[in-house]
């Protein structure tokens, strides 16, 4: 019997993958919009070149975390969005990072350092 793919099997994500998924979390975007979003401090602060972006997108599509919308305003500008598995993977990674952050905060607070 086939099992439902578990988001945890994709964790931990690389910073590049996390930044791409995060960029697509609030809706569909084309490649350059993803690059811009990922470069922002809030988006991960990752500087993505076209080669890295489309190579990673290709693997994310193959792993069913991202899909093409099929809608396009230009043949050279295609739009991508998260699949439901992509959303779940992003949520699982965010929870994992949040747990690590909580631990780091509590351990450094004990030594008088605040994060």
């Amino acid at each position: 019997m086939a099992t439902t793919p578990q988001p945890e099997s994709h964790l931990p994500l690389t910073p590049t993958v996390f930044a791409i998924l995060l960029a697509l979390a609030d809706g569909e975007k084309h490649g350059y919009a993803i690059m811009k979003e990922a470069a922002l401090p809030a988006g991960g602060g990752i500087s993505l070149g076209p080669g890295t972006l489309y190579g990673t997108l290709d693997r994310l599509i193959r792993d069913a975390l991202v899909e093409e919308t099929g809608l396009t305003d230009d043949a050279r500008r295609r739009y991508y969005r998260l699949t439901s598995l992509g959303h779940r993977v992003l949520a699982a990674e965010t929870a994992r990072l949040a747990a690590s952050l909580r631990t780091a905060r509590s351990r450094t607070a004990a030594r008088g350092v605040r994060i």
Binding site: A2, T4, G49, G51, G55
Partner: protein, 276 residues
Amino acid sequence: MSRPNPTLFALYRHALRLYPYRLRLLYQAQMLQSIRDAHTDAERNSSAISFWLRLFTDLLKSSLKEHILMSRDEVMRRPIFFHALTLCALLTLMGGGAAITMQQMLRRDADHPQIEMAGRYAYDIAHYHIPPALVLPTGFADPSTSLEPFYILYDGAGKRLRSNGYLKDAVLPDPPPGVFAYLRRHPTDTFTWQPGPGLRIAAFAQRIDVDPGFDLNPNPGFILVGRSLTMVQRQEDQLRTGTFITWFFLMALLIAGALFLNRAQFRIQSDKSRAR
């Protein structure tokens, strides 16, 4: 909105050939469009040099990475039984090679006492001119029942002078005449000899060059020392059996592992297809 430098843009477009063909086919137009888009923003934020430097660095790094990942995927895509078969062949070759090497070592070790004894006898006779009766052992040896080495002394014409070897109460036969012909051209010869049915002998023969001024009446020409290979044959049989059993279990383990992995891979692929 300005256009990117046409020369560098053309160079970048050509450099996209560094990517795997499939990736280029799918994303080339989008990559170039991203550069046009990025160029407009970059004009405001950074210099043209750093913009193109970043792009080409990314191209080199990511194209290399994509080729490595593509090769890995190619290997992973091949059926598990292909890898299992390759591993089986490799293990068989390596195991076979190791078994043959060990067999050769066993065989070589079986020659050592004869080489040492023949050398000593030949030296004592040829250089110290000690009569063979005083140099050679007096006890008898039957290679069909004992592992004790035996000797046969010949004159220069290949005629037997004396021997302590017997084969079931009969005289040991002589080795093939080719051995003497060989020894006339070379100082020593190591060979396996079968003097009787089911009996193999590890034999070593050496030419004895007595100084021309001396006459031992008659002068010996060759000494042959041999011993039964029964023990070595037994060890070889054990080695063969051990190698075969190990090989058989390894093959069974590999096939079982391949079946298990094949099943697991099938499940993962089904899950992925379902998720799509």
